[in-house]
């Protein structure tokens, strides 16, 4: 185990996989000479060379389209998009090709592709560069959509994604790059895709979260604990496939739940999770499930307004209190 940031954990995962398998390569805007917009691939260019660390033009459709071609013909590409917002430019390649080729060609091809994107707001990047549209990508069957909340999970999940023969849409949260945690050194440390995980145990209320909302939920759980409420925090980790087992298991004990996501509430992860709770555990519902999510506005640029629109630890805390007392 070593204590490191999520940035280092992600970097390490890619480095180790590139060392392990020469078919693994990375391509994207500024991943090479510059070392990555978020410095994830710093030092990679010198170690692995320009063929395996490929700088691309500012053309997301070309990045994803090229990566799909490489994957179909035997390589294991990691395509990096500077932000998830730019994935819209490559939407056809992502949802109509990456998600469907294996299926439409009767399994003749595998598509071992990882698309790494940066999601989330809170950095004053304005309405178009600060979105959290994770749910859109989780809507399409054929893609695995993964988004870690801790450095250890970031490493283990990304390594699993790179080794997976299926296309994986890997969502990193920019505000979590600096978050720190213990990360296993093991070069074969893998976390399973499509498996939720209990990050904190408690009997009074279930808080379901993923990505940036995981540390927020854990923090809220500590505040709740001071009020005598013990929250169980379930980290979804993958939003497709969505593993409800730990959520339902927890909910059957607590009978009350809050679902927290950074994205907008309507048609979001919280909507999906709470609907499934009602479907799978209706007889265990003791209070309406509460959703914590972003205010339904294009995210403001103004720093104070931006924070007001984004879901905060305090919001999760308050929602949990309401759910417990309702």
């Amino acid at each position: 185990m070593a204590r490191m940031t999520m940035r280092e954990a992600i970097s390490k995962a890619i480095w180790e996989e590139m060392e392990r398998d020469e078919n693994v390569f990375i391509m994207g805007e500024e991943v090479g000479l510059w070392g990555g917009t978020y410095a994830v691939t710093k030092g990679f260019y010198d170690r692995f060379g320009e063929k395996r660390v490929r700088d691309t033009p500012i053309a997301e459709a070309a990045i994803i389209g090229g990566a799909i071609g490489a994957a179909l013909t035997g390589l294991r590409p990691i395509a990096e998009l500077m932000t998830i917002n730019f994935a819209f430019v490559a939407m056809d390649h992502i949802v109509n090709e990456a998600a469907k080729l294996h299926y439409m060609f009767g399994g003749q091809f595998i598509l071992p592709l990882v698309i790494r994107v940066v999601s989330g707001g809170g950095r004053q990047l304005g309405a178009t560069h600060s979105q959290t549209p994770d749910a859109i990508f989780a809507h399409f069957p054929g893609l695995k959509v993964v988004s870690p909340g801790t450095p250890a999970d970031a490493k283990g999940l990304l390594k699993s994604a790179i080794r997976s023969d299926d296309p994986v849409f890997f969502i990193e949260n920019a505000t979590l790059y600096q978050s720190k945690g213990e990360v296993p050194d093991d070069e074969d440390y893998l976390e399973p895709l499509g498996k939720s995980k209990v990050q904190r145990e408690g009997d009074d209320v279930t808080i379901v979260a993923y990505s940036k909302m995981v540390p927020a939920a854990l923090e809220a759980a500590e505040m709740l604990s001071e009020d005598g409420i013990e929250a169980e925090v379930v980290d979804l980790r993958s939003i497709r496939p969505l593993d409800m087992d730990p959520v339902i298991k927890s909910f059957k004990r607590t009978n009350r739940a809050v679902v927290a996501e950074e994205g907008w509430r309507s048609y979001g992860i919280g909507a999906e999770v709470s609907a499934r709770i009602y479907e799978l555990a209706f007889d265990f519902v003791d209070a309406p499930v509460k959703r914590v999510a972003q205010a339904e506005v294009p995210l403001p640029y103004n720093a104070a307004l931006e924070q007001l629109a984004l879901p905060q630890t305090e919001d999760i805390y308050r929602a949990a209190k309401e759910v417990v007392h309702g």
Binding site: N255, F284, A287, G326
Partner: protein, 440 residues
């Protein structure tokens, strides 16, 4: 944070109340516990106290309006707080009310737009809305309750309507069912409280494929002997039966006190007291401690030897506590326990099951209310003892809870008659109801 005051439920069957007077007008400051309004129900006029502190921001209903229980009636805000119309509407909407829109009296809003807003809302008077169709729609099952609470109520066969809800808007939640079950247990209704869908058998239990084959088993010698003796007794002895209820409160108390002084191995059972009491009563009624000899003689036994029926595998045996009228309770307890244990292990000695002059059969431990036993020949009577129970009783014209036990004497009419047997039962009452006599 604005708080919503709702029409309180002031009686079990109260469905609505008429708000007859606002005590706190809009703008008044309100402390917790202040009377804010007066309400008239079917039964009385009562004052509504505030559970919140702050300012009376808005009345949501006019005076002399009938309001359903739990419907919002007022909004109280913190000092200095000015919630927007949207916030108020959201608050009232969350609470299940239709809308809070009602112009604040005397309040002037800036600009023409604000005035228009107010006008718009004026055209929809609040009391009408609260009385509107939504108020008539009752939640699933007739009681506002969580799905979990409904399932628990089903499992435990509880009427949801009997459970007080503590959730939002009086919703019955898990905690309330648990509290209700606790209160059932506190009332001694443990078995009811523990019911978990037991009365419903799974349908698979009725599947024809699972019916076992008939089985023919050979009767054990014990079984045959019981059959012969009981048939002889029931066909040839003219039984008559007398039942009586005994007050057992003092006996239970005395037993508890005595047992505190005794080691576990010597603890007294209720039956030990009954053995002693019966033995002493028989001493006074020797005709019941007797056996018929031929057709012309009755033998009144000098010894009072009490037979105690013990269930053993495949049947029952009667172990005999000899001279029970002369033995202290503690010795009776030890002897009977030892003999019963040996009887169950098949190691009982012959002289321990012979020579009884009167028998007792006690099924109280099975919760039996009352039963009659068949006389154990050649005895003249047997006492069938049932469970000690807390039951409603009338004492001095008042209904109260008392400890009671029923016992039924089966007696041989060739030897004794109703009056004598009844006197015996009465004397037994003296011993059991003033159990100190058993210690003398």
């Amino acid at each position: 944070m604005a708080d919503l005051v709702t029409m309180p439920k002031l009686g079990f069957d109260m469905a609505e109340g008429t708000l007859i007077r606002w005590v706190k007008v809009e703008g008044d400051s309100v402390a917790k516990g202040d009377v804010i309004a007066e309400i008239e129900t079917d039964k009385a006029t009562v004052e509504v106290e505030s559970s919140f502190a702050g300012l009376m921001f808005r009345h949501l209903v006019e005076e002399d309006t009938a309001v359903p229980v739990n419907a919002p009636i007022a909004v109280i805000v913190a000092e200095g707080e000015e919630p927007s119309e949207d916030e108020i509407n959201a608050l009232v909407g969350d609470a299940g009310g239709k809308t809070a829109s009602k112009p604040a009296k005397g309040e002037t809003k800036t600009g023409k737009k604000a005035e228009e807003e107010v006008k718009l809302t004026v055209s929809k008077p609040v009391d009408e809305k609260i009385k509107g169709e939504d108020a008539d729609v009752s939640p699933a099952g007739g009681v506002r309750s969580s799905p979990l609470a409904r399932r628990m109520a089903d499992d435990h066969e509880i009427e949801l309507a009997n459970v007080e809800g503590s959730g939002l808007q009086g919703r019955v939640v898990k905690k309330d069912i648990e509290t209700y079950l606790d209160s059932m247990r506190a009332e001694g209704r443990d078995e009811e409280a523990e019911v978990v869908g037991k009365t419903l058998q799974p349908l698979t239990a009725f599947s024809v494929g699972e019916v076992p084959e008939d089985e023919v088993v050979e009767m054990s010698r014990l079984r045959q002997a019981i059959g012969r003796r009981m048939q002889d007794s029931n066909q040839n002895f003219p039984h008559f039966y007398l039942s009586r209820t005994y007050q057992t409160g003092e006996l239970m108390q005395l037993r508890k006190e005595l047992n505190q002084l005794l080691p576990d191995s010597d603890k007294l059972s209720v039956n030990d007291f009954i053995i002693k009491g019966v033995a002493l009563a028989l001493r006074q009624y020797p005709n019941l401690n007797a056996s018929l000899e031929g057709e012309k003689f009755i033998r009144r036994h000098g010894h009072v030897n009490i037979g105690v029926a013990v269930a053993v595998e495949g049947g029952l045996m009667v172990v005999v506590c000899k001279d029970a009228d002369r033995k202290p309770l503690r010795l009776i307890a030890r002897e009977v326990r030892d003999m019963a244990l040996r009887a169950r292990e098949g190691k009982v000695k012959n002289d321990e099951i012979e020579g009884s002059t009167f028998s007792i059969s006690n099924l109280g431990m099975y919760g039996i209310d009352n039963f009659a036993a068949i006389i154990n020949p050649p005895e003249a009577g047997i006492l069938a003892v049932s469970a000690v129970q807390d039951v409603p009783v009338v004492v001095d014209g008042e209904l109260t809870v008392g400890s009671r036990m029923k016992a039924t004497l089966s007696a041989d009419h060739r030897v004794t008659d109703g009056a004598e047997a009844a006197e015996f039962m009465q004397v037994l009452a003296n011993y059991l109801e003033e159990p100190m006599r058993l210690l003398l």
